[in-house]
Symmetry: C2
Subunit: 465 residues, 2 copies
Amino acid sequence: MEDTLAKLPAVILAAGKGSRLKKEKYITPKPLTPLLGLSLLERSILTCCQAGVKEFIIVVGFMKDKLHSHIEELRSKYGLSILTVENSNWESGNGTSVTACSQHLTGPFFLLMCDHLFEPKILEDLITADYGAGVCQLAVDRNIDKPSELKEATLVQIDEKDIRAIGKGIENPDAIDTGFFLCWPLLFSALKKAQEKGDGSLSGGIRELIGTGQIRAVDASRRFWHDVDTPEDFNQGEKRLLERLKTAKRIDGPVSRYINRYFSIKLTRLLAPYHITPNQVSILSTLVGLFGAACFFSIGFLTKWPPLWIWIVSGLAGFLVQISSILDGVDGEIARLKLRPSPYGAYLDYMLDRFVDGFAVMGMVYGTFMLTGNFMIILGGFMALLGLPLSSIHRAKFLAEAKRNYLDEDDGPLRYLPYSRDVRLFIVFLGGVFNIAELAIYLLAIVSNLVALLRLYTVKKAMKN
Amino acid sequence: MEDTLAKLPAVILAAGKGSRLKKEKYITPKPLTPLLGLSLLERSILTCCQAGVKEFIIVVGFMKDKLHSHIEELRSKYGLSILTVENSNWESGNGTSVTACSQHLTGPFFLLMCDHLFEPKILEDLITADYGAGVCQLAVDRNIDKPSELKEATLVQIDEKDIRAIGKGIENPDAIDTGFFLCWPLLFSALKKAQEKGDGSLSGGIRELIGTGQIRAVDASRRFWHDVDTPEDFNQGEKRLLERLKTAKRIDGPVSRYINRYFSIKLTRLLAPYHITPNQVSILSTLVGLFGAACFFSIGFLTKWPPLWIWIVSGLAGFLVQISSILDGVDGEIARLKLRPSPYGAYLDYMLDRFVDGFAVMGMVYGTFMLTGNFMIILGGFMALLGLPLSSIHRAKFLAEAKRNYLDEDDGPLRYLPYSRDVRLFIVFLGGVFNIAELAIYLLAIVSNLVALLRLYTVKKAMKN
């Protein structure tokens, strides 16, 4: 059964007017409204793609010509299979938009609205629930404590898993209708019945399924979803998507968590509307980091300058490295925000990081050695260069051998050593700004290698689990 | 079906005398004969474990007390579930040993002989073939071109997949009986019939299944298996197991393939009989490498020595690094030969390698710099230290992101760059023996970084596949 479900097409309703979002004159229809660099429709489609959906049927109505040309763009941009269905009758209710697809659907399908932000796991939940052939499923959210939301939302009454009532303003609601369905073609006859009674809404059709046990609820209370109806919803949606970037990565080092993310998310929001790819940001991060390294190097040629001036150059170098570290978070955030994670992007970012780390240390060593003539700095630099990549190597090798990520705070205090790249670059930053590059080099040399040696022990224990 | 088969127990026959192997007086029974560090029985059991077998029934007869105590050792050494069954009637034929297990088996099981070397894929083939409940399966080898083998072997005649005849010296044979079976309990009644006719052999029982379609052949012609009956078989078996070590690793660098393996396999053979763990060899390899690095370093303190003496120290350093490189192959070979691959062992080996690489370069740089005073060497050393781990990092990161190994000679000439660790250490070796450490440093610095940059391009193409 799950095998069949894994290949479900998704029907996305994009025919309505969405009059609550725009008070001004309509220039672009609602599904085309850009939110953090993607139109609402584009974001829906790409989120479905992440859940494994390969085929789309999109129902258009209001301002259909603009939608047709936008969908054509999406087809060629992402190489997707998208069928467009027109519903000239869209003003009679969103149920008629579903009816318009009936001839194209012979098996189960996802049904969703173009104006919902969501995480792909909701669709996976619908597949996992799998109540059997012919039973339609609606994802519901049991968080109904905010009365303001309840006024606008479609509500459902649930008995065990069976839906007992659905509609706006029903009494004693148990949950909110999220608008994500897994449907079977029998929905079409239910919609027809409702339409014959003069109810053109999707909820009307669903009501016809109540009582025969053909519509059941799937709990999606813990999932992220967000309905964009009003301008307030729109702003709130942007905010929630950005907030989610903070938690999307499982382990964030302390400097990332408490300093870098604050800036990187602001930058990501700023850059999101533009056609800037994550790889371009990775390269920018590298260039800024290399420029910082060059500033450290340059101190080697400025040994005759007054100490204050040297300090200024050193501080600039430190700042540039820290900015590079912040930008190093932006590429991943943009990739996640625009729903285009790329294995090559992750590879590129990772390899370029090694060059920035290496050159930053080399620059510090060269500058400081030329200033002081202390040969110990060179030995320290060698040890730092040896030790710096070990932490990344350790993580990649652990994953390759143990087939899982190394973490694990749960596994004991020694397992999780907060010595990720953000921390290492922060040491370089501090070395630059406080003009204590020599100390920073020794610190990197000692801690990097000690941590790697310590992990020979902790990994042994971790692999036994 | 395959789900049931995945949990099959294995019955291993170890009751016979094996009189052809030992001409001298019996001190240890045949199943206990050590071959490359493992008894024949131990190797059978561990190979089964690699195929996923979790439960064993071992039939003992001849010299059963020695077998009992050996099996007890194996139980506690590997934490295995092994049931021992005694067959006092073992001299009447190996069929009686199978009969002795009847009360312990209610479902399908693997049946094999304790004196066969084999690769786990044979058992996997038997499971994959899956002819349905109640059909016994025998793995056969269609390579019957060596007449010498045919005289001793049990032969089979096959029609499509059905076995038509089985026995020693039958006419027009199609294949050799490898001795690996997937059996169902109906075999026990067939064995009983044969025994009533006075035939106590397993082949006798199998013959009773012919004609009813209850015994079919599974082609294992491309698999490694080796029957150890005579002293010649024994030597040949050792040789074949060692030979397989050369091809077990998918990518061997050119220095490994043409130089290191020649020595490492000899060393592995030498060490196999002793209780030396792969991790101990990894640590030895590290120590030898670090000693080589120390020799390179020491040149920095011997600058007043005559050039020839310095050359000798440099050559010694180079040789030690090359020996370390050879030992770096031995740990993996021992792990594979003794059937105990360990994720932690692979991790440890990998991390320790990074230290050897780093210190070898540092040693070369220090020694050469103190001799020449040329600051370029230090810059070259920094670049070499930066570049050296990039190749390993690249491979680990590619695996983590693309979920497959990076190789790939098939993918184009630029994808496969023969710049693996064996090659890098060989450059250090050449730098040492020919006293051209400075050149070696520059070579490592330039090639390592160039290769890493080139891979940013080739990986992009590889990930598109």
